[in-house]
């Protein structure tokens, strides 16, 4: 059912404030006039010792009325005072007629004086009020601005803003509503205090209707709690002061609606135009802050996009260079072998073939790395886990890699009685291979590489199997330690000679994490680095049925 704004009411500038105060002024003035009559009569009236001063006494209620109730109250009380004065104190008494012309003159002068002083009193009162309001305004503005400036983070601005607004205006609640990024639904982005159900966007369909109306017209709209669109309990333009009520302020920058501010007034709160003016200012500030934040967000996103573009082109140039380098070697060697005009001797021929072989291996490693990487980045790694003998795995990998690194001795330090781990053997083998290859690439010739495996069971931690590769390379500076796991990241100055592609560690991390483990790094610049693959041991205890008896016995011995 469509929401009709006529069922709600819109607060414009018709406020109870001035009317109420006018009546107070009039009542006070008339009361004082009435109070003055008996004592002045007692004092002898027109002929008594206070006779000439009577008009001065009547100025007092008129001033009080002007100050409390404004100009109109002043005029009414002045006229009343003149009538009362004439009736009770000007001869002939108790008649509207005036005997002496001088009294008529006094009366006229009094009325003139009264109106003039009333006017001055009203102005003075207004000025005082203005000053107080201005002071309050600047305080509130300052308060809220402090919430708005200070940070460029929506998550921090909005709660601070709603909190300040609630405190400054003594509200039951204040909330900022934002449009969902996709679609036109509204949600509460920040809330301070509690919103009654009837005014809550998630509970009341009326609120949704009001919001869309505010959004379309760009005008502030009020709503009483419990107001029902279908019912006729309330009329357009009235506010039910006995219940909580809400104001919905559009937050706009130019023609753009960036959000809506919802203020929930406590029952009995008086509204005044001054507050609305102040709110308008604050609402503008909040809108600008929101818009600014949105722009910051867009800027951040653009930066991220640029960064990802840069990464992509770095990737492309890195990969294309790395793919072409072995190809160039293969092409050079194979086309040499095809030369008709040269008779290669056996040694040359063998060198060419070995180059082709080695470069083809290099290319194949690169391609499988790329495939692994794309699977990891696509989240498509599916470990085929089983109970595996890690000691055997270590030996296999070391035996396979040792010939490729004749300059380094790859030492094994495998703890006896190592439990089996529930993991994908191919993944862990690949991860360990990459770590050993890295160690070989970055270590100076002759430095040993140590591959260690042991089970740990720290008291505060589940049992783990630690598989580590330690080298005596240049080490990794603390600032680089997080980045080295990023795709295609290579430590500056290390790329050329080592021929790294920046994929190895990303793959290690991806494979190990897919198997429920993690990779840790300990490094001391100048001395070396140690990468540790930590695999969970306890996790697999639920899967006992999948392993053989012997393996079960071995792993149940650990930890005791």
């Amino acid at each position: 059912m469509a929401w009709n704004p006529r069922h709600s009411y819109i607060w414009l500038s018709a406020y109870e404030f001035s009317a109420r105060h006018r009546w107070i002024g009039i009542a006070a003035g008339l009361g004082l006039v009435a109070l003055l009559v008996p004592p002045l009569t007692q004092a002898g009236g027109y002929y008594g010792f206070l006779g000439p001063s009577i008009p001065l006494f009547f100025l007092v209620p008129m001033l009080v009325a002007s100050a409390l109730g404004g100009r109109i109250a002043g005029v009414i009380v002045s006229v009343a005072a003149v009538v009362v004065w004439d009736w009770f104190f000007i001869p002939p008494l108790h008649t509207p007629t005036i005997y002496y012309p001088r009294d008529l003159l006094a009366l006229i002068v009094f009325l003139f004086d009264a109106l003039l002083t009333g006017q001055l009193a009203t102005i003075a009162r207004q000025r005082a009020d203005d000053a107080i309001r201005r002071a309050r305004t600047s305080e509130a503005l300052y308060d809220v601005s402090m919430a708005l400036i200070g940070n460029h983070n929506l998550a921090a601005i909005l709660p601070a803003l709603t909190q300040r607004l609630r405190a400054t205006f003594d509200l039951q609640a204040s909330a900022i509503l934002l449009r969902d990024p996709h679609g036109s639904a509204w949600h509460t982005a920040a809330l301070s205090g509690s919103i009654p159900d009837g005014l809550n966007i998630n509970r009341s369909r009326d609120v949704a209707g009001v919001l869309s109306w505010v959004g379309t017209t760009g005008q502030m709209c009020g709503l009483n709690d419990g107001a029902s669109v279908a019912g006729a309990e309330y009329q357009a333009g009235s506010r039910d002061k006995s219940r909580p009520s809400a104001q919905f302020w559009p937050l706009r920058v130019g023609d753009r609606l960036v959000g809506i501010l919802e203020l929930i007034y406590k029952p009995g709160t008086d509204l005044d135009p001054q507050r609305d003016r102040l709110l308008t200012t604050l609402v503008n500030g909040a809108a600008i802050a929101l818009e600014q934040e949105r722009l910051f967000g867009e800027e951040r996103e653009a930066m991220l996009a640029r960064e990802s573009d840069r990464l992509k082109s770095a990737l492309l140039s890195s990969v294309s260079h790395d793919l072409r380098t072995p190809l160039a070697g293969i092409k050079a060697a194979s086309s040499s072998l095809l030369q008709d005009d040269v008779q290669w001797n056996e040694e040359d021929r063998r060198a060419f073939v070995m180059d082709i072989d080695a470069e083809a291996d290099r290319l194949s490693r690169l391609v499988s790395n790329l495939l692994d990487l794309s699977r990891i980045e696509a989240g498509a790694i599916k470990p085929a886990r089983d109970w595996e003998d890690i000691a055997e795995l270590v030996e296999r990998v070391v035996r396979r890699l040792q010939p490729r690194f004749p300059e380094h001795q790859i030492a094994m330090d495998v703890a006896p009685g190592l439990p089996h781990a529930y993991t994908d053997v191919v993944h862990i083998e690949q991860a360990l291979t990459n770590l050993i290859e890295n160690a070989g690439k970055y270590s100076p010739g002759g430095a040993p590489i140590v591959v260690a495996a042991q089970a740990t069971s720290p008291p505060d931690h589940a049992a783990e199997l630690h598989l580590s590769v330690a080298d005596r390379g240049p080490g990794i500076a603390p600032a680089e330690r997080d980045k080295i796991f990023d795709t295609f990241y290579r430590i500056a100055g290390s790329g050329g000679r080592t021929g790294g592609t920046g994929m190895g560690l990303t793959i290690v991390k991806g494979l190990v994490e897919a198997n429920g483990g993690r990779v840790e790094l300990a490094s001391e610049p100048g001395k070396g680095s140690s990468f540790t693959i930590a695999l969970p041991l306890a996790e697999g205890y639920d899967h006992k049925e999948t392993r053989g008896e012997g393996a079960a016995a071995a792993s149940l011995e650990w930890p005791s």
């Binding site: 492309l316 140039s317 294309s320 260079h321 072409r324 380098t325 072995p326 190809l327 160039a328 070697g329 293969i330 092409k331 050079a332 060697a333 086309s335 040499s336 095809l338 030369q339 005009d341 040269v342 290669w344 040359d348 060198a351 060419f352 180059d355 080695a358 470069e359 790329g495 050329g496 000679r497």
Partner: protein
């Protein structure tokens, strides 16, 4: 007498090994270097008739090596680059490299380029009388004319300048920038559109079939090269 001296600069052992074996087998004297600084040392130490220079080197870049060699000598430089490094390649040619090969390449291709560059280099100054013969084209610098089969071509002064520059650099890759600088001046260094128009007009006057040029060959994204049709 030993053959021409060639300096090979590349950091890939497999490529270096194959090039070296092939060049040695053809009677060239070959020195090798795996890094820029080493290459400049070699270049300073011995006679070099041709440099084969990989642009992707660790440490000192191939561009820097190319620039350093050009300040010392006009020796022909053949640069090796990979696809995706077009910018670097053009930069090297702008700096005075003579020709380029894109990796991966076959040995035949390399040998052909090496032969062409070496053939060109000693005769490059043999224009004492200001007359240069390239295939059916004859450049007469003093007369400011180019003849084709003895018939003078009807060229505007600018067209003559472009053609004369290409003829004087026969076999070399002349980049857009180098050609624009030489003929129009440095402020026109980027106006490759200009060049395209001029080259098309020149081809109509020089080539038998302007749509299948045999003299003025386009090097895509790089520039032009005037070759002697075979």
């Amino acid at each position: 007498m030993s053959g021409p001296h060639i300096l090979l600069v590349d950091d890939e052992p497999a490529v270096l090994r194959a090039l070296r074996a092939n060049l040695v087998a053809r009677g060239y004297e070959v020195a090798t270097a795996e890094a820029g600084e080493e290459a400049l040392d070699e270049f300073a130490r011995r006679r070099t008739d041709l440099v084969v220079l990989d642009l992707m080197l660790p440490g000192m870049s191939g561009i820097e090596v190319c620039e350093a060699i050009r300040t010392m000598s006009a020796v022909p430089i053949l640069v090796l680059s990979a696809r995706g490094e077009e910018q670097t390649k053009v930069q090297a040619l702008d700096l005075g490299a003579d020709d380029y090969l894109t990796k991966p390449f076959g040995i035949d291709e390399l040998l052909a380029r090496v032969r062409a560059l070496l053939r060109r280099s000693p005769s490059g100054t043999a224009e004492a009388d200001g007359i240069l013969q390239v295939g059916r084209l004859t450049l007469n610098d003093q007369a400011h004319e180019v003849r084709r089969d003895g018939v003078p071509l009807d060229l505007t002064p600018r067209e003559y300048d472009v053609l004369a520059y290409l003829i004087r650099n026969t076999g070399r890759v002349v980049t857009h920038r180098v050609l624009l600088n030489a003929v129009w001046g440095p402020q026109y260094g980027r106006e490759t559109q200009y060049l395209r128009v001029f080259i098309n007009r020149l081809r109509r006057k020089v080539e038998d079939d302007p749509s299948h040029p045999h003299y003025i060959i386009t090097e895509p994204g790089v520039g032009y090269r005037l070759v002697v049709p075979t």
